[in-house]
């Protein structure tokens, strides 16, 4: 009888051991970059984890973390992340990599943003020219960064005229709208490079350190419920901050251009 129990336990245990599934909520801009297609197979090979990605906006990603429906979150909005950890939803915040935001606009660049002296200045030029501008408007990391630039230029989004279009959509959809309207749009470089429908748009301004876009990994607090795989989240975090990940991330290019810069520090 005892032998039977031990065998049964071993079989069940191995079944559990095989099913290492982890749920990670990521932002649409991360998924649009295409980096996940490089990282996921490596994660499977190195850690034997089936990483299930839920690709949603930053707001929704943090909400899923709050509800305990995912094991960890990867987003790029420091203020929201700090609130998340402070409220006890996440155990801590670990920086992984950054890319930058860029200003995209019509090739003709009517607001002359190419000659702007800073990101805030570029935005101010768009506002004074009242050139068409498309905003994500969806409370995402990109959207919050955009709002930050407007306020650093001393401009109040609520008072903008109809030239400012808040579409409430993901990066790809918003880029489509901008292409259709021949408008300016604030995007992350990765999504821009990966975007297939550029038509009359081009990159008009970039390079200001204020356009720094930091991605961070936040494990969800396992005390929320018994199903959270914090063990897997920790394994993944170690991997994401390892030299192996550094190679993959730094080496990821689109049309010969690297997208992300790995900047995790050892702990």
């Amino acid at each position: 009888m005892k032998k039977l129990m031990v065998t049964a336990a071993a079989v069940l245990w191995s079944q559990c051991a095989m099913a290492d599934e982890m749920r990670l909520a990521v932002t649409t801009s991360f998924d649009n970059s295409g980096l996940s297609e490089v990282l996921l197979p490596a994660i499977k090979a190195d850690l034997d984890i089936d990483l299930q990605l839920l690709v949603v906006g930053t707001g929704q990603a943090l909400k899923l973390g709050e509800a305990g429906d995912v094991d960890a979150v990867l987003v790029h909005s420091k203020a929201a992340e700090d609130t998340f950890v402070a409220a006890g939803h996440g155990t801590h915040r670990r920086e992984i990599m950054y890319n930058d935001f860029v200003l995209i606009g019509p090739k003709a660049d009517g607001a002359d943003t190419a000659n702007a002296t800073s990101a805030a200045d570029a935005f101010a030029r768009v506002a004074s020219a009242e050139a068409a501008f498309v905003s994500r408007g969806d409370d995402s990391g990109t959207h919050k960064a955009e709002l930050g630039i407007w306020s650093s230029a001393g401009l109040e989004v609520g008072g903008f005229g109809p030239w400012y279009h808040a579409v409430g959509a993901g990066m790809g959809a918003a880029l489509n709208t901008a292409a259709g309207l021949d408008a300016y749009i604030f995007a992350d470089r990765a999504s821009w490079l990966n975007f297939g429908n550029k038509s009359g748009l081009a990159l008009t301004y970039s390079g200001d350190p204020a356009l720094f876009n930091q991605y961070a990994f936040l494990p969800v607090d396992p005390a929320k419920n018994g199903n959270i795989r914090n063990d897997l989240a920790m394994k993944l975090e170690d991997w994401l901050t390892s030299p192996r990940a550094a190679d993959l991330i730094n080496g990821y290019e689109i049309n010969g251009e690297p997208l992300f810069v790995f900047n995790a520090v050892a702990q």
């Binding site: 990605l53 509800a67 429906d69 297939g196």
Partner: protein, 234 residues
């Protein structure tokens, strides 16, 4: 215009090359929708029939309620199901969120009112025809329901196909409760939404044409199997 042609081309190549991913998401779409259809029909058809034959106090209210529920935006239903199935919600222990089962649940809730409403309408007409005869023959309530369902099966099939159409093209609810996770809960409609968001219109359209094609094939298959045209009583 070019996008539509590109879309048709994309659809053609996807199908002809037996693209593995396409097969996977198409089969998953069919599996989720057909399962939801069977479950919803098992609820809706007896319900619609019962409402046609039995008079009771709140009957009119329930019929109006069912008709009104048809107008509920599927996204709202998806949100409600998400809240219920979330780990922080009442049914979180079932661990159903972000699985095809959650998608089936959401779709059942969405299409049951549609099927029930059409079924009820068809059964009401048939009951008006059979009413005197079945009462005269001293049939039990159960015998009446069985007779109506049997003799009205063509119209009930239409009701079921209406439910199928609603479900196969649905994207809002299953996006929320399924999460559109690659290889787990991604289906044709959510894949189309994803590709559209990425700006890959040609692929999105291609998938869309495949979806339309599947819907047509299913409808044709069911009509052929039930020989609705031949018996002349279509």
């Amino acid at each position: 215009m070019i996008d539509i042609l590109e879309g048709l081309k994309a659809a053609f190549w996807l199908v002809v090359s037996f693209d593995a991913e396409l097969w996977e998401i198409s089969l998953r779409s069919l599996r989720v929708t057909l399962t939801a259809l069977v479950i919803a029909s098992l609820i809706a058809i007896p319900l619609g029939t019962y409402l046609a034959v039995q008079r009771f106090r709140y009957r009119r209210f329930i019929i109006s309620l069912i008709n009104a529920l048809m107008g509920l935006p599927p996204v709202v239903i998806g949100l409600i199901v998400y809240i219920l199935l979330s780990r922080s919600g009442p049914f979180g222990v079932l661990n159903l969120l972000f699985t095809p089962t959650a998608m089936i649940i959401a779709q059942v809730i969405i299409i049951t009112p549609v099927i029930a409403s059409i079924a009820h309408q068809a059964m009401r007409e048939l009951w008006a025809e059979y009413h005197d005869l079945l009462i005269s023959l001293n049939t039990t309530k159960w015998q009446r329901i069985v007779t109506l369902i049997r003799d009205g099966r063509r119209n009930l099939l239409t009701a079921a196909l209406a439910g199928f159409g609603r479900a196969i093209g649905e994207v809002g609810a299953i996006m929320i409760v399924g999460g559109n996770i690659d290889h787990v809960t991604r289906v044709l409609t959510t894949a189309i939404a994803l590709e559209t968001g990425k700006g890959d219109f040609a692929l999105a359209l291609g998938l869309g044409f495949v979806l339309i094609g599947i819907a047509i094939v299913v409808n044709l298959a069911i009509h052929t199997l039930s020989r609705t045209e031949r018996e002349g009583r279509w």
